[in-house]
Amino acid sequence: MKKQNDLLKRILQPGLATLFLVAATTCIQAQALLPDQNPRYRESMNAYLFKADSLTRNEGTTLQQTYHAYQYFEAKQALKEQRRQWRQDRRMARSSYWNDYTYNDYAVGYNRPYGYSYPTYGHYPGGFRWNDIATVTSLALGAYILFR
């Protein structure tokens, strides 16, 4: 009989305590609820409490979400710039292709596999550039000496 009582005490005491706590919490929550306040407000509150830092980080700042607007002159200028870049790239590619083709390359070239194409006149050495001041000066001087 005494053993049974002990067992009941062991099982019932924690169970009752838990029940009491749950009831008390519910009661406090119910009491804390303001008039017309959503009873499930805690679900939302708990969800936002965890992300409050990231949500408030950009306060007082400007979020840049800019778009690209078509503007006739800007588009024209961009196209011009693009063409200039392409020309420059072609020139550089041509130049590096010929410059790499040194005596040693020739030696290696003989042993290259079939299908290797040698540079043609179309890929003439690319050392010459119209925007090079030295080139323009030397050309001007040459023309002057020739036609004076």
Binding site: T61, Y72, I133
Partner: protein, 198 residues
């Protein structure tokens, strides 16, 4: 007949190159309110116009007396939130939002609380005081002023351009929202249209 030798020709060429490199730049201070439009993009005049319009409206419209009536003459507390720039240009809203904040503080009609990175810095300093400051001067946690409203906004633009002509339209929208109820109590906007001819 005019004759020129090789040395003179080279000299003139080199002098030209040198002169081009040393072209003088002139800088003059101008009045901040002077309207100077160069490219047609968003500039200081637009920012100033937006700030003036918004400040006049936010301080002069009904939401303010309404709040004071409901809260026994208490001044509303505002926190500045985020402004989205959805235009085709880089625009920082801080230039005109800061002017508005300044007007809140100087007119003393609206109280302002710090938010974002600056608030984080303040909290960091407060945390530091807990270990390093004298107890009598140490600031306490949990006594910050809670904002009643948040100021948020957006900037939008429409561009219409053809050949030498362009019309750019900017619309700056700012709104005050009640932090308790999410109710928008004030919306202010400034519309700026520009005709640019190249």
């Amino acid at each position: 007949m005019f004759k020129i030798n090789a040395a003179a020709f080279t000299g003139i060429l080199m002098a030209g190159i040198l002169l081009q490199g040393c072209a003088p730049r002139k800088v003059t201070r101008v009045d901040e309110k002077e309207q100077i439009d160069i490219s047609g993009r968003w500039n200081n005049t637009d920012s100033r116009l937006a700030a003036e319009e918004m400040t006049t409206r936010v301080l002069g419209e009904n939401w303010l007396p309404d709040f004071q009536q409901q809260h026994a003459g208490k001044k509303p507390v505002v926190i500045v939130g985020m402004v989205s720039n959805k235009t085709h240009e880089h625009i920082d809203a801080e230039t005109f939002v800061k002017d508005m904040e300044r007007s809140f503080v100087t007119t003393q009609k609206i109280r302002l609380v710090q938010g974002g990175a600056k608030r984080e810095e303040l909290r960091g300093e407060r945390a530091d005081q807990q270990k390093n400051a004298a107890v009598s001067t140490m600031k306490k946690w949990g006594l910050e002023v809670g904002a009643d409203y948040m100021l948020q906004g957006s900037i939008n633009s429409i561009v219409d351009s053809h050949k030498k002509q362009m019309v750019v339209y900017y619309q700056v929208d700012l709104e005050l929202t009640d932090l308790q109820s999410n109710e928008v109590v004030w919306i202010g906007n400034k519309k700026i249209a520009k005709y640019v001819k190249n």
